[in-house]
Symmetry: C2
Subunit: 123 residues, 2 copies
DNA sequence: ATGTGTGCAAACAGTTTGCAAGCTT
DNA sequence: AAGCTTGCAAACTGTTTGCACACAT
């Protein structure tokens, strides 16, 4: 995706301004408001290419559809509500160990840490 | 899944003794060795029910199939290798903040923290 | 003018469901 | 005997791909 198209611009803008991770369907629904006739396949194609170029990152929450959010370079802390299933992107916190990282009002019941990198066999 | 069947027993044993998160296909392939004629649907049915009863937890890694692992009650730290795409379940560490949690030999390039709980609106 | 990006529809992969038969209780 | 569980195949959902046309370069 190296050319400037209306579709690409709108899709990126939607993700950038969402402030939380969106599912492919949500991205598409929001983007269609600006470009009617936008095909779902185009949305998927852009999500893939934006992910590959690291402008967008995928966030997965078991048992739920994948979500995508703007990659601002910072590592992320997310909060998944077990009641409403919404996903929140939390502000970069103090760097405390996980259970302490949620702001007031969020009741943490458990956490999962995923580290990315190179394993001993591959390194 | 309240009855004791050969299939259920084998599937749980496979997950318990894997020591790392397995995809549904991996679970099925390993279980078939003990119960030939085991249907893939049965594997999915047990994964779902084991997850619902919290004996097993799902671990997702964007762009990869879902994985399931034995839930021993502890919160988990996982390491995803960007070269071979394998997933490792790391020992429960010191409780340090994420970048410091990997044992020697693992080169951490980034991390993702997922907190589970109840959000302010639902709480 | 060239060739990438798009929309559409068809193809796909992974997961779920309906059903008759088998097994556990 | 009652009814949960299984295997099979068909149905579904979410994602990808082939193709002809449109548009950015």
């Amino acid at each position: 995706m190296k050319r400037n198209t209306k579709q690409g611009e709108v899709i990126l803008t939607v993700i950038k301004s969402a402030g939380r991770p969106l599912t492919p369907l949500e991205v598409h629904e929001l983007a269609v408001k600006k470009v009617s006739r936008l095909g779902i396949a185009t949305t998927y194609r852009h999500l893939k290419s934006l992910t590959e170029s690291n402008q967008v990152v995928g966030v997965d929450y078991p048992g739920q559809p994948p979500r995508y959010e703007w990659a601002d370079g910072k590592d992320k802390v997310h909060f998944a509500c077990r009641s409403c299933d919404k996903l929140f992107a939390l502000e970069d916190t103090t760097g405390d160990a996980p259970p302490a990282e949620a702001p007031e009002g969020f009741r943490v019941q458990g956490f999962e840490v995923m580290l990315y990198g190179i394993c001993p066999e591959c390194g």
